[in-house]
């Protein structure tokens, strides 16, 4: 059987690796972005000079032949689902028995005047990065539209080249459509501390043309202020890359609709990662979750289904991470920006204003719901077990140091945190201070 995977991002590549582990099928991955799989999350580090492109490839080039995964560097223009055939740009036609669509996202554009000018671009692909690099030389200021994870990365990248950055963010605080207010405020502060001209509650009105088709400035809708710039980074999120499939017969809403087995409406065609939209996501989760980790999980799940070992997609307990300039962010479990009625929240912030811990718990039986961390590292498995076991907050607080994952000799703030929790909640906590790896292992195996 020939399995063709369209897209060589984390979802497609994970699917390929697992199909190889589970079967002897012929596997082909097609991509027109890069010859070999690279880590999209590392694009920023190439531009900043932390890594070269080849350093972002998670597997050495011999890996693919050794695992009998064929790589085709070509663009698929059309899919004939009847004949089970892909038509490539080069004219080549590739037949498949099963097809996995892992075609990713594209950057959002909201119909702004001037959005299609030169020197206006999102940041998603290797080509986007190359384009940014080609514009860098003659850049005196850049404007970034949209405050999300890509926007802040783009800002950090440009700062590394000492290019002044203005950032337009629609929300009251940076990313406060996801982050609770305190954290959003902290990150907004941090962004400004780095010299980024952060404009909150500001929308883009239009992008100006310098007369030769290049962007030369923008106007802010609210204030009418005009800002000159030589580059406009559009980073108001991404959407599934499905426009080219609209007429293909696939059921498409915002993304390619799939059931819990990641099957589309067409036989032997699957969709995974950013481009897939679950028709019935598990409770509390969204249909589209365009992040690295869910892409990886979908790829693995899909591989089982492709190999006729039926597994339904279960993303498990939510987790994610990011880095906002110098502040690392981790989240485990459910931490919405607005506190749901039945939840209580505990928030602790370090006096330096760059570290925080939030724990949400249920207001009746006090069982733990989620953790939000800024500038502090927690151990994934411990948090997951606490959440899965629905432990009460008192017990978690007593054993908070079990989750400690900061490097050795770092200040542990657990005593402060517990004290602050006691005074906020009127509960009395018996704190187990010293924790070593053996105790963590005992806990995880209990």
């Amino acid at each position: 059987m020939h399995v063709v995977i369209l897209g060589n991002g984390i979802s497609g590549v994970t699917a390929a690796r697992w199909i190889r582990k589970l079967s002897d099928h012929q596997i082909t991955i097609i991509s027109s972005e890069s010859q070999y799989f690279y880590s999209r999350t590392a694009l920023m580090y190439i531009y900043m000079g932390h890594m070269r492109f080849e350093d972002t490839k998670p597997y050495e080039d011999w890996f693919w032949a050794k695992n009998r995964i064929d790589l085709v560097f070509d663009h698929v223009n059309e899919i004939d689902f009847e004949k089970k055939e892909l038509k490539c740009n080069s004219g080549e036609e590739i037949k498949y028995d099963k097809l996995v669509l892992a075609v990713g996202s594209e950057s959002n554009k909201f119909g702004w005047p001037g959005q299609d000018l030169n020197r206006v671009r999102g940041l998603y692909s290797l080509q986007d990065l190359e384009y940014l690099e080609s514009c860098t030389k003659s850049m005196n200021r850049a404007v970034i539209v949209g405050g999300g994870l890509i926007g802040i990365e783009l800002a950090e990248m440009l700062l590394s080249r000492r290019i002044p950055v203005t950032m337009l963010v629609r929300e009251e605080y940076y990313w406060d459509n996801i982050l609770p207010k305190e954290e959003a405020r902290m990150i907004s502060r941090h962004i400004r501390r780095h010299g980024i001209d952060l404009r909150l509650q500001s929308n883009l009105k239009e992008i100006h043309d310098d007369g030769s088709g290049n962007a030369c400035g923008i106007t802010i809708a609210e204030s009418g202020e005009r800002i000159s710039c030589e580059y406009v980074g559009l980073t108001p999120g991404v959407s599934p890359n499905v426009r080219w499939l609209k007429e293909s017969g696939l059921n498409i809403n915002r993304g390619i609709l799939v059931n819990q087995y990641l099957e589309t409406n067409i036989n032997d065609v699957y969709a995974v990662g950013d481009c897939a939209e679950l028709t019935n996501p598990v409770e509390g989760r969204r249909g589209i979750e365009a992040i690295w980790y869910t892409g990886r999980m979908m790829g693995e799940t899909c591989a089982y289904n492709v190999c006729n070992q039926v597994r339904s997609y279960d993303p498990g307990i939510w987790f994610n991470s990011a880095k906002f300039l110098d502040i690392e962010y981790q989240v485990y479990g459910e931490i919405p920006n607005q506190l749901p009625g039945a939840h209580k929240t505990f928030y602790w912030e370090h006096p330096d204003g760059e570290k925080s811990l939030r724990i949400n718990y249920h207001d009746r039986d006090f069982h733990i719901i989620g953790f939000n961390l800024m500038g502090i590292r927690f151990r994934h498995e411990v948090c997951e077990k606490w959440i899965a076991d629905q432990l009460p907050i008192e017990e978690v607080m007593s054993n908070l140091a079990l989750a400690h994952f900061d490097p050795e000799f770092y200040d542990a703030h657990y005593r402060d945190i517990v004290k602050s929790f006691e005074s906020q909640s009127n509960m009395s906590i018996e704190f187990n201070g010293r924790v070593n790896l053996n105790r963590v292992l005992q806990f995880l195996n209990s």
Binding site: G49, H50, P58, R296, E300, S312
Partner: protein
Amino acid sequence: MSQVQPSMSLANPHPPFFDTAQRIWAGISFLGIGMMGAAGFGVASLNKSHFLTLSIALLAIGIIGFSYRTFLTRSEGIKNNGVWFSSTMARGMIGWAAGIVITLFYVLLYWYPAYLGLGSEGGSNVGLVGFFDPLSMTFKGVPASQWFVYGTLYTLAIVLFGIRFIWRYRHNRYQIIRTLSVMGFQLFFAYMIPEIMEGLNSDLNTKWFDKDLKNMWPLDYDFFDQWHIANMSTTGLVGWSFLIFSLLLIFFISPLLTYKYGKRWYCSWVCGCGGLAETAGDPFRHLSDKSMKAWKIERWLIHGVLVFSIIMTIAVVYGYLGDGNQYYITRTTFTWIVVSLLIASAVVMYFFMRKNKYSGESLNKIIAGISGVVVIILIINSLAGSGNAFFVDNYFFKKWYGLLIGAAFSGVIGVGFYPLMGSRVWCRFGCPMAAILGIQQKFFSKFRITTNGGQCISCGNCSTYCEMGIDVRMYAQKGQDIVRASCVGCGICAAVCPRGVLRLENGSLDIFEKTENVRNIHIRPEASTTS
């Protein structure tokens, strides 16, 4: 919090990664080096103590000023901006030039010290060595040797670039403490204490032995030499203390600390070679080769050197034990001690490798094979009453080891190739000490680098900045703990990780199953739902 004005414009929005201030500081340090260079090329008028002081001061001020400007004027955190665009740090013109110059310096140091100005046959020093005479006179009242010059420059490099390193990673207390440790061990144990002690005890000057307490066999490959043992055992309490402590270090303290903390206690906290790599070598750490091929070469090479150093030491000791019975043990006793040690360690290794399940039969066979051959040859020669342990002249191994490993590998290649192959070329491919500690670390140590659940994004920063060329990401993206013989526990992978995935940890509970947990397998076999 003030907003930045959009009209704010920088004079030059695309400066090179070095600004004027950095250039001035660099210029000052080059002035200091230039003075040493000029003295080296025979400007004799410079050979005065105040010029030496001035030269070292300029060097220090330049390096410290440059580091201050580079790191303390920006926010705390990992900022490897422009590393791969730099001519110095990314094998550009300057990198190659630096590599060639350092290599040449080492060639002169080891084989042509006269060109550095070492006075021949009791003649007085000129050139670079002469330039350092005043300092040597201060310490111990004798003129400098090329090794005194080398030791001084080496220590200066560790201390000055150590300050740079601490500023670069000033948000990370593990890095700060570890670096203070290597700076202290070099400055006091390897440099000041031995030099001052020699000044205070004139017989220590004539009866030279290695007074660097932290230098351990087999890295210190002269340790069991006849003259070395003899000099230690004839210099009273001082010598005997060194002898006894060194033996304790080799056979007791080192295995214990490696069991508790991994080889990092030595390689990135104490060792001088490691100290230079971590400080002066830090700008080049990313140049190590991460490929599977390099890993294969590494394993053959480093364990080859280990075998070589063991055979060499056995031959040397066997050789001089024949001289009579002033050494408490006879040649025959020595033979049986070595034979039992080799057999015992092969058996212990076999036992632990079986328990660990992560090494193939082939490794056991290789170890058993080599130990077997060495044991048989040694017994044959001993029983036959041969003067040579391994058929050829006992000193034959020592001569070639000294030339190929001691000088060419650890010195010339080990440091000269920093700007080309990264800072740990010697530690990774050659050091027999690292090989022994590595075997312990892999098979019986509590140390490992834990990966944090499913948080890895495969970005590659950890692998890129691993000076030992470990493909850390390969493990992290699987969610598997990293247990590698070569890991020196510098902790930089954990520092550069943007997602908090890595942590250096010690734990005894899972010591033989450290690598079995693979956390990024999302679907467990039992989690099947059949439709």
